[in-house]
Amino acid sequence: MRKWISGAFLIALLAGCSSNPQQTAPVEERIPSTSTTPGGNAGATTGGTTAPGVGGTTTGSTGSANPLRDPNNILSKRSVLFEYDSFTVPDQYRGIVEAHARYLQGSRNTRITIQGNADERGSREYNIALGQKRADAVRQLMRVLGVGDAQIETVSFGKEKPRNPGHDEAAWAENRRADIVYSGE
């Protein structure tokens, strides 16, 4: 019951956010561009549209390509970028999170770590907590979509492992991020 309420709350939050299209260029550059996703359409919230391609690949254990590494598969997209001081999964990354959630539901023995990150500004330890909050936001969305906690560990690198070592807005935008990493990767 509690889970359901918090899930409903989260969805309400996401719906609220959809009226705020993304603006920053660096964020747009990171938007997944696979044919099965809403792509770069800012504000798109059509959660179910990513299903077909993904589902087919995950069950095909005899298939030659690993869907997690296939650049044409949304599952190869692993990063969720966050707005400044924000801990809500932006709409344009929902498709990625949903795809991974479905993959995990179809593969109950698979474990992932969600690694949260923060930009370089401020206290190292407080940034560990901020990165954790971002990782937890991605986990919460996966919970809503039915993935059990046993499959997910959320951790934070704070500002310690920036993907972009720069010191400007573009670098910071890239470093406010949560990455999905599969066990064994």
């Binding site: 770590t113 690694q115 500004r121 401020g122 206290s123 190292r124 330890e125 407080y126 560990i128 907590a129 901020l130 954790q132 909050k133 937890d136 560990e153 959320t154 951790v155 934070s156 690198f157 704070g158 310690e160 492992k161 990493v181």
Partner: protein
């Protein structure tokens, strides 16, 4: 202290031998105190018989504190070495209020007898006199002890020249936890890792350091014993484990764990057992720092919408907000004298150190940024060591807790951060 013009002495006081450990820290004094005690330190008798002298280190310690001004004794002949040989008038004429003389004598067993006296040139009395039988390898430590005695006699506060500091040095992609003397000399590598290290914290007795490592692709807290070099895991629970803070009794630590969801504060025994949740909040609670009496702890929380500093009384669970000005106040460190705490405040884009008094709630800004973080107070509460940035590189810096004295500790070609000032050595 009378309000005099702040002295700006852009002077490299210490230049250390090149054979010293790599990434040696060098201290520069960048600002002076309002008033200083003029002190004349006469080279000890026979001191030049050894390659490493003692009085030079004593003088460097004292002037680095910003509370002393060295008065050159050269030209006073014959050079006094014992109390009865000192003609205080000679030193008064040069403006010295205090005089140090001493001698060094080889002993039959190869050790050296080092003795000194400290005299008050105004009241014309001896304030201290000590002797030490030491090996030449102990000269540096002996000099720090002498400086501690002089500092305490003349200021009333314990000297911290014999203490040690810990910090993280980053060279390329390699991270090292170093422990060095308080003047940056004798740096030793305690831990080396290819993944980030952060948040070193000294145990109260100074024999162990807790720290956070990302070597397991997540924050895990370890405790390293300095004597044995042994390392144990303190906290490696599901999620992130970070922000270790020792309780004053050395038996427990406060830590931030996310194992039950969110960044929350827990107590844990120093052997990793007995994990106990301190509070339950839907917000971020982290960066604990115990008050001197161990009854309460300061921490950072965003429960009010922005990160601010709060105090938890452990026995009752009562929480009180301590910072109100500004939208970002983090990294509280309780003062060892129990009077207040130092912390980081963001003002616009600048991160600056500030100190707040518990009783008056007065806040004094100590630094001007732009990227000052990780404050750590000296055990006598007179200085704050912190991480700053200079030329795109991390350096350590120190500021007196009244904001008057400023120093930089610079290590060439190394990013230095996360300093932690160790306890008094007993």
């Amino acid at each position: 202290m009378p309000r005099l013009l702040r002295l700006l002495i852009p002077l490299v006081l210490l230049a250390f031998a090149p054979l010293a450990a790599r990434a040696q820290l060098t201290i520069e004094i960048v600002g002076g105190a309002g008033s200083t005690v003029p002190i004349s330190i006469v080279g000890f008798e026979n001191e030049s018989n050894w390659p490493l002298g003692i009085t030079g280190i004593v003088g460097a310690d004292l002037s680095r504190s910003g509370l002393f001004r060295l008065i050159d004794p050269s030209g006073i002949v014959p050079r006094p070495a014992r109390a009865e040989e000192v003609r205080l008038g000679d030193f008064r004429a040069r403006g010295a209020d205090a005089v140090v003389v001493g001698s060094m004598t080889s002993l039959a067993d190869g050790r050296v007898d080092v003795r000194f006296v400290l005299m008050d040139a105004v009241k014309q009395v001896q304030l201290a006199g000590m002797s030490y039988a030491v090996t030449p390898q102990q000269f540096r430590a002996t000099a720090h002890k002498i400086a501690d005695v002089i500092y305490e006699k003349l200021t009333g506060d314990p000297g911290v020249f014999s203490t040690r500091i810990a910090y993280i040095a980053k060279q390329g992609s390699r991270y090292q936890l170093h422990v060095a003397d308080a003047d940056g000399v004798n740096a030793q590598t305690i831990v080396t890792s290819n993944e980030p290290l952060l948040s070193p914290a000294w145990s109260p007795e100074g024999t162990r350091i807790a720290y956070v490592s990302l070597e397991n692709r997540k924050p895990v807290i370890y405790i390293q014993s300095l004597g044995t070099g042994q390392r144990q895991v303190l906290a490696n629970f599901k999620g992130s484990n970070s922000a270790p803070a020792w309780a004053p009794d050395g038996r427990r630590l406060a830590v931030t764990l996310t194992k039950d969801g969110g960044s929350q504060l827990f107590l844990i025994n120093a052997d990793g057992s007995g994990v106990q949740r301190l509070m339950s909040s839907p917000s971020i609670d982290t960066e604990a720092s115990f008050a001197r009496d161990g009854q309460s702890l300061l921490f950072t929380s965003d429960r009010g919408g922005t990160p601010q500093i709060y105090r938890l009384t452990i026995a009752t669970g009562a929480v009180e907000r301590l910072t109100f000005d500004g939208s970002y106040n983090v990294s509280p460190r309780a003062s060892p004298d129990g009077k207040g705490f130092v912390f980081v405040r963001r003002d616009g884009a600048r991160f600056q150190l500030a100190i707040q008094d518990f009783a008056t709630r007065q806040v004094q800004m100590l630094t001007t940024g732009p990227l000052d973080e990780s404050p750590s107070m000296s055990p006598n509460a007179r200085m704050v060591l912190y991480a700053a940035e200079q030329g795109g590189r991390g350096i350590l810096a120190a500021v007196s807790s009244d904001g008057r004295v400023k120093q930089r500790l610079v290590a060439p070609a190394t990013d230095v951060r996360e300093p932690a000032w160790g306890p008094l050595q007993h």
